[in-house]
Symmetry: C2
Subunit: 415 residues, 2 copies
């Protein structure tokens, strides 16, 4: 094991980033479009590399959900190419003027968007993260050091190779996108302790990965640990709308971080049994308080741990709350700060909810499953952040930038 590997990659990245920082939008988009085309041309190679990963994963007994996340077929490779093209088509954040002041003290001031620098992306399973992270880094003028999971090592290297080649054919150094070569677990620790070398770490993967990164990192981290998303059905909610949203928020896809995990029903909502019935009919297990258990004998009793659990499965915790304040109290205690929603026709209640709930995303009369950068019109996302600094909610190109102040004078001196 060589502790110098991450240091070397970071030094290469820092050198490379100076070139991409002043690259034109055209230059960057050309690389992205060429990479998308190269991904298409390499479809067979990528699928073949992925087959090796899949075979090894099956041998190691990975479960079906993980195997599905790992799997690449021709359609999924095409989706990767399309995602890269989408990022090429997005506006370039670099050089954007955030704001400008009126001339002040003989100075003209502006804040201009620049890249953050060197990003460390630590991820598991899904090989498409290799392409997404590489493309987002290139577009936002950053360098990326990628560290994927061992189960996807061949797939990740096949995809990385394409970016490496496309960059090698350009004026931008190939070290803008580097992948950690071997799978030594110590490299993750080295990345997390790379203060001054790596500017930001973004973990993508399961809770244990994210928790390790958050606990150990000495470099700033952009992440979310849990997506314990709540929906509160207010007394004024339209019952048809409530049923539709609840079903969608829980059952459309149960494994995503924006899936509803806890349902709070106001005691004055007229049709609570209908909501519970709809969920159970759709195949969802309902773990609930005594009041809901009385409504439907197919429910089971919730334990305290249920309010703290992100099931990522066809299970929901549910309880009756006495009013909006009670719902806010529950959310404050148990929300992971990801996405929480209210269903209400009463705009005053909705307004108070949106104002009071302190999560990255708060919603009114909509499904929490929308919590996604693409759905929010960002074109792509590197992840969802629930921290309080820098960027919150879906993070895309803008979240990968910072700014500098530019002051122009004509001999201005401070009195």
């Amino acid at each position: 094991m060589n502790h110098k590997i991450i240091e070397t990659l970071a030094h290469n990245a820092r050198k490379a980033v100076k070139k991409i920082a002043i690259a034109s939008t055209d230059e960057k988009n050309k690389i992205l479009r060429a990479s998308a085309e190269a991904v298409r041309r390499a479809k067979n190679d990528i699928v073949m590399a992925n087959k090796i990963d899949l075979a090894a994963a099956k041998k190691r007994g990975l479960d079906a959900a993980l195997l599905d996340r790992l799997m690449l077929n021709e359609d999924r490779v095409e989706s990767i190419a399309i995602a890269i093209e989408t990022i090429a088509s997005l506006p370039d954040p670099i050089g954007q003027i955030i704001d400008e002041s009126q001339p002040l003290n003989g100075l003209q001031l502006s804040r201009v968007r620049i890249a953050i620098g060197v990003l460390g992306i630590i991820y598991e399973s899904r090989p498409n993260v290799t392409a997404d992270a590489a493309a987002l880094a290139i577009k936002s003028g950053n360098a990326a050091i990628l560290r994927g999971g061992s189960e996807a090592v061949n797939s990740n290297h096949a995809i990385h190779k394409i970016f490496h080649q496309t960059l090698s054919n350009s004026d931008i150094p190939a070290d803008i996108v580097q992948i950690v070569g071997d799978q030594d677990r110590a490299h993750v620790g080295d990345m997390l302790r790379s203060q001054g070398l790596i500017d930001m770490i973004i973990p993508r993967g399961g809770k244990s990965l994210v928790k390790r990164v958050q606990d150990e990192a000495r470099v700033p981290v952009l992440a979310h640990l849990d997506g314990i998303c709540h929906i509160y059905v207010h007394a004024s909610a339209d019952p048809d709308m409530a049923r539709e949203i609840i079903l969608n928020a829980k059952m459309r896809r149960t494994g995503i971080c924006g899936a509803m995990e806890t349902l709070l029903i106001d005691q004055n909502y007229p049709k609570p049994a209908q909501l519970i019935d709809a969920l159970i009919e759709a195949g969802c297990e309902v773990r609930c308080d005594d009041m809901i258990m009385e409504l439907d004998s197919r429910t089971v009793s919730a334990e305290t741990v249920d309010w703290e659990t992100e099931y990522l499965d066809a299970i929901v915790s549910a309880r009756i709350v006495s009013d909006l304040d009670h719902a806010l109290e529950h959310i404050e205690q148990y929300s992971s700060g990801h996405t929480d929603a209210i269903i209400a026709q009463d705009d005053t209640a909705a307004h108070l909810f949106l104002r009071s709930v302190d999560s990255a995303i708060v919603m009114h009369n909509s499904s929490t499953q929308f919590a996604d950068g693409c759905e929010f019109g960002l074109g792509a996302e590197i992840g969802i952040a629930t921290g309080r600094l820098h960027a919150r909610g879906p993070v895309a190109l803008e979240g990968l930038t910072t700014y500098k102040w530019i002051a122009r004078g004509d001999g201005a001196v401070r009195p």
Copy 2:
């Protein structure tokens, strides 16, 4: 020593912050104006408390510069009151809509500014930081836990008492502004390890304080360690302008973080000797390379350490550089990322400098001493940040906020 003290303060702060988060701008401004008036009324008490601190500091042999920073007289107390009123007069960042999307997938999306939460301010000497931090926290809807230096303990408590009383007479809990009661040094360590309790730490003070905070903190930190500010005098610089700016940037006040510490003169700049002469005539020591030493016998030879030193004194390091690239190279190697400037009539050179130098503030034809939130029109500043995430350069109200996404639908479900 009780490790629970910081935990208790943070819990109190977190409770209080919920109330101020939904307070109106008027409510907050009323508290600020009342605090300013109360500071005026308590002028004698504050000056008396300060006299106790000054006497103790003299006994302990603090140097003149520190004593001056510590000292409060009637004029300085009046300045504190005016600063609080200035903050009251600034626009309220909370509730500002950062951006709104066109309706998308049945959703209306916006990003709205909210407070960060609980701020920990760790500072030394200047008692006015107590008032500035308290006022900025109130205006930005945050709670502040203040930890001032032991040398200013009586002054800080006298100022804190005023905010405590004004808040107690309002609907906003007094725990919005708390001060760490005793001067046990372990409290600083406890604050730095308060993940999940304190959201951001802002250190204000000397390099050793900032370094300790940056090294030990497990909570995000907004700070700058050094202000090694450079001015590059390009070949095209106007000599009169160059002389004026250089003198102002170095000698107006030598002890501030925006003071020029290194002067880079292009080898094709026609009048280098004049610049050196002007600095020496103004009482500045010039530590320089051989070429500059040949221009003026009153200069001394620079050591490597000089390029890495923030003098905060009437000393400057100076060297001849061969061209813009050479200047950029020097700055990249030695700049602390605070403020760097070019003096040039050639706009292409200026443009390249502003684009290439990666500091929080980059300037053209102006003095680096402008690097200050008030000079930048922010009305007040909590500090200057040289990190890459969240906020850079002078940090004022906006830097003390984050945002949440608000999504409004009318039964929107994700397909």
